[in-house]
């Protein structure tokens, strides 16, 4: 065997190991859903059942937690997406040091541990406004860093925007409001949809920040963590399996949209160049 062939074999084995490492734990977790053992495991196998899905379906507190997560997610979309959009619009028209400084400030929440985002929000709102933990603070705390993700998405799209379009419309007598509604917003629409989806997913899965600002409200992720520590049954696995299936679906749709958009953009560039 040549050295090159040996190295290829080694690389292949490493990749198989790596992806196995990524997916095997999730597979085991999923498989435990169908084991009729009281405790979620695959060893020993006690027989196939779909009963844990039914147990999950009848879990009233799970549905309540899901409702809370959906409300928080909607709130985060409503708050973080506009904030991120405004930030990106501002950055796009700034140059020099002001831009660098603002940019650093805007991405700083992404480099701050989630627990600290939660704690600072909790302390601030109690001390200044007398607001204690609950749905409102959860939305506010999550938005403070999710807005940064939205800003990054909008900035990436604005970078490819041709300002001459706005210039032309203004020269032809359109008002600023008209330009924004008819040109800027439609151009940004794909980014708005991606930002909303990303904001919702980030909010839905958030645990570290939510834990500090939730008050007495329980989101679905918090509920799962509580169940694992007190009263774990394979119903938790059933819930995980459903969530993972939905996530995979969401990720695939998101990727497909992104790629279609990239292809469309590439085509329009080609069309422009050949015209």
């Amino acid at each position: 065997m040549t050295a090159a062939r040996f190295r290829r074999l080694l690389t292949g084995a490493y990749l198989v190991l790596f992806f196995g490492y990524l997916f095997l734990p999730l597979g085991i977790m999923a498989a435990a859903t169908f084991n009729s053992s009281r405790f979620p495991t695959v060893t020993p196998w006690m027989g196939f059942t779909l009963g844990w899905f039914q147990a999950l379906w009848e879990d009233q507190r799970m549905w309540a937690a899901l409702g809370t997560s959906l409300i928080v997610g909607a709130g985060v979309i409503a708050l973080a997406v506009p904030l991120g959009l405004a930030a990106a619009l501002l950055l796009d028209r700034l140059h020099s040091r002001a831009k660098t400084f603002l940019y650093a400030l805007m991405v700083s929440p992404l480099l701050t541990p989630g627990v600290i985002v939660g704690i600072s929000t909790l302390v601030f709102w109690r001390e200044w406004f007398g607001v204690s933990g609950g749905l409102f603070l959860t939305v506010v705390a999550q938005s403070s860093f999710i807005a940064a993700y939205a800003m990054l998405l909008f900035s990436a799209r604005l970078e490819r925007f041709d300002p001459a379009l706005e210039e032309a419309a203004l020269d032809l007598g359109a008002t600023h409001g008209q330009v924004f509604r008819r040109i800027t917003l439609p151009y940004l629409m794909p980014a708005i949809l991606s930002a909303a989806l990303l904001a919702f997913l980030q909010s839905f899965e958030n645990y570290n920040t939510t834990l500090f600002v939730r008050g007495l409200d329980t989101t679905l992720t918090v509920y799962i963590a509580t169940k694992v520590r007190t009263g774990l049954t394979p119903a938790v696995n059933a819930l995980s399996l459903v969530l993972i299936a939905l996530t995979i679906l969401g990720a695939v749709v998101y990727e497909a949209l992104r790629r279609r958009e990239a292809r469309r953009q590439a085509r329009s560039v080609v069309a422009l160049e050949t015209a």
Binding site: T11, Y14, Y21, L22, L26, I28, M29, A32, F39, P40, T41, V42, T43, L83, A86, A87, L89, L90, R93, L94, H95, T100, A104, V107, P109, L111, T112, P113, G114, V115, I116, I119, S120, L122, V123, F124, W125, V140, S144, A147, L152, T175, H176, G177, F180, Y207, N208, L211, F212, T221, I224, A225, V228, R229, S240, L243, T247, A251, V252, E255
Partner: protein, 294 residues
């Protein structure tokens, strides 16, 4: 600023500035400053706040120094997070290099998708999957027993090792993507040229690939360290009373000890640790903030 006004007009500019101000002041800066200020005050009953006892104090910071248990947990959080970071870097580098430089173009979209999908899955669920693997009557014990490596089931949950293993799994994807992005921009011809000139495999990586990948290494390390040091979900699920994490101490100050000022001080210490790591990594790898937030 005149450029902003010219482009968006007075009304829209006003709305944009207001929104950015609300975000940065009300949601980011003021809460952080408030938390820091709060950490320098004693914990007092509401009737005494603003009174003669409500003075500036560093007492809350000295607690960490005098409390041996808290101090050892803090130090453990640092070295364990560093260990998680180093492990993910070592595991991810070959994968990132393969994907960015070696993988055939037609196979790449599928491989990337296979990385993206677990990345999207809830951190808590990925942690939970290791809870099942490491459980007393879980598959890991069953396999080790079956192979005759151990004679009786081991308690993998509730110790530092389980927490660290779980963290490597949960945060590994935050390392692989920055590495991939950095190595991907390296021109393949450079590697070819080095090989033609007789450079060995190790030499190529040390002198060409790694220097080029520096920003990616920095970003990956910063993200992984920050997530590990600030993690609550992983130690809460996979750890136990004997393997507490610094974030759990902070949580206890708030919701069990009822001493928010003390908790704020510990939170600020954690923040300083993370900022210190970020600055250190930026210096070491000579990268700017703009490289980090890509």
């Amino acid at each position: 600023m005149t450029e902003v006004l010219r482009r968006y007009g007075p009304v829209l500019t006003g709305v944009i500035l207001l929104a950015v101000a609300v975000w940065l002041a009300l949601l980011v800066l003021l809460p952080q400053l408030m938390m820091i200020g709060f950490s320098f005050r004693p914990s007092l009953p509401p009737s005494k706040i603003g009174g003669p006892e409500d003075v500036f104090t560093v007492k809350n910071y000295l607690t960490l120094w005098t409390n041996q248990i808290h101090l050892s947990i803090f130090l453990k959080t640092i070295w364990a997070s560093a260990l998680v970071t180093a492990t993910t870097l070592a595991v991810c580098y070959p994968v990132a290099f393969y994907l960015a430089q070696v993988a055939p173009k037609r196979r790449l979209p599928l491989l990337i998708l296979m990385l993206v999908v677990p990345f999207w899955i809830n951190e808590l669920l990925r942690t939970f999957s290791w809870y099942i693997i490491l459980a007393f009557n879980g598959p890991l014990n069953a396999i080790l027993l079956g192979l005759g490596i151990i004679d009786e089931p081991q308690r993998f949950l509730g110790g530092d090792a389980g927490v660290i293993v779980g963290m490597v799994y949960v945060y590994i994807l935050f390392m692989v993507f920055p590495l991939y992005n950095a190595i991907e921009s390296l021109d393949r011809n450079q590697i070819e040229a080095a090989r033609d000139l007789g450079a060995g495999w190790l030499h190529i990586h040390r002198s060409i690939v790694l220097p080029h990948a520096k920003p990616g290494v920095a970003v990956g390390c910063i993200m992984t360290f920050m997530l590990a040091a600030g993690s609550y979900a992983v130690p809460a699920l996979l750890g136990g009373p004997n393997s507490r994490w610094f974030t759990e101490i902070i949580y206890n100050w708030f919701f069990e000890g009822g001493n928010w000022n003390q908790g704020a001080a510990y939170a600020f210490i954690l923040l300083v640790l993370c900022i210190g790591f970020i600055l250190g990594a930026m210096r070491l790898f000579r990268v700017g903030l703009a490289d980090i937030a890509k």
